[in-house]
């Protein structure tokens, strides 16, 4: 098979696969816990503990608020926005995907892509298909070659 063709196919697969994986987000079980995990408990800024993990009364209160808001039919985005308006972006457990904070999200994958390119370049330097050297001269044939070859065939099995 042509080498270029193989390369193209594998590259396409890798790209398609990673795009696919990137586009479905690992949503948690419920919207409730999704939101709880997206917000920092305002009483625990120092430890940046999420509402979900925090045990104190402020966190309990916010959990209850979220439950009520969800019951009223608000969406995840709306609820999170209310809290951001109230406390600022510092309340988010993850940086929003805009502005400078976009760097947080992009750099890891950029890094991996660069690493991938580096490997690809390294491979294209390292891969050398040695010319097939079928006619390498046999050492002088002896009368007992068959005997020895049979012995090799037997003995290697002991090392298997």
């Amino acid at each position: 098979m042509a080498r270029g063709f193989v390369r193209k196919i594998s590259l396409t697969w890798i790209l398609l696969g990673s795009f696919f994986l990137l586009n479905i987000s690992p949503a948690l079980a419920s919207t409730q816990s999704d939101i709880e995990n997206s917000l920092i408990c305002p009483a625990c800024f120092a430890e940046s503990m999420s509402v979900a993990a925090c045990q104190d009364s402020t966190a309990q209160q916010i959990k209850e608020e979220i439950r009520q808001k969800l019951a009223l039919g608000q969406t995840k985005v709306e609820i999170i926005k209310t809290y951001v308006d109230q406390y600022g972006e510092g309340i988010l457990t993850s940086p929003p995907k805009k502005g400078f904070n976009l760097m947080a999200w992009v750099i890891p994958f950029l890094g991996i892509m660069m690493g991938g390119t580096l490997i690809y370049l390294a491979l294209s330097r390292w891969v050398k298909v040695p010319s097939v050297n079928k006619s390498h001269a046999k050492t002088k044939p002896g009368a007992l070659d068959d005997y020895y070859e049979a012995r090799v065939e037997e003995e290697f099995k002991k090392y298997l």
Binding site: K134, T139, A143, L144, E149, V152, E155, F156, K157, L160
Partner: protein, 122 residues
């Protein structure tokens, strides 16, 4: 009390590191790095034979192509044959001995074959 214990500890420490220093010394001794120790026959044999085993194994596992298999197998088999030959030479087994031994074996086989034939007839 604690002062005494402390002094004993320090004395102990000095004794531990000082003792080798007052022993007779072997000067300029370097620990030789173990580069290029020639491998013994058994070790060489193990390497070649286990390589052969792995080639055979991988081929049967459908991991090697037929071409690769034949080429690698020939390469390592040749190497193994050389190794066995060389060792036989060292241990004094000459080709003549082997040829005779082989012929005897064949003869013995033939005889037993004949014998069994005779038995069947009888």
């Amino acid at each position: 009390m604690e002062l005494v214990i402390g002094l004993v500890m320090i004395a102990g420490a000095i004794a531990i590191i000082g003792y080798p220093l007052i022993q007779k010394d072997i000067h300029n001794l370097k620990v030789k790095p173990a580069k290029n120790i020639p491998l013994g026959y058994e070790q060489q044999k193990e390497i070649v034979m286990s390589s052969l085993g792995e080639i055979e194994f991988d081929f049967n596992m459908h991991k090697l192509t037929v071409d690769d298999y034949q080429e690698l197998k020939a390469l390592y088999k040749e190497r193994a044959v050389q190794l066995l030959k060389a060792n036989d030479k060292v241990s004094g087994v000459t080709e003549k001995d082997l040829v005779r031994k082989l012929e005897e074996e064949i003869e013995a086989d033939l005889k037993s074959l004949k014998g069994s034939d005779d038995n069947e007839k009888g």
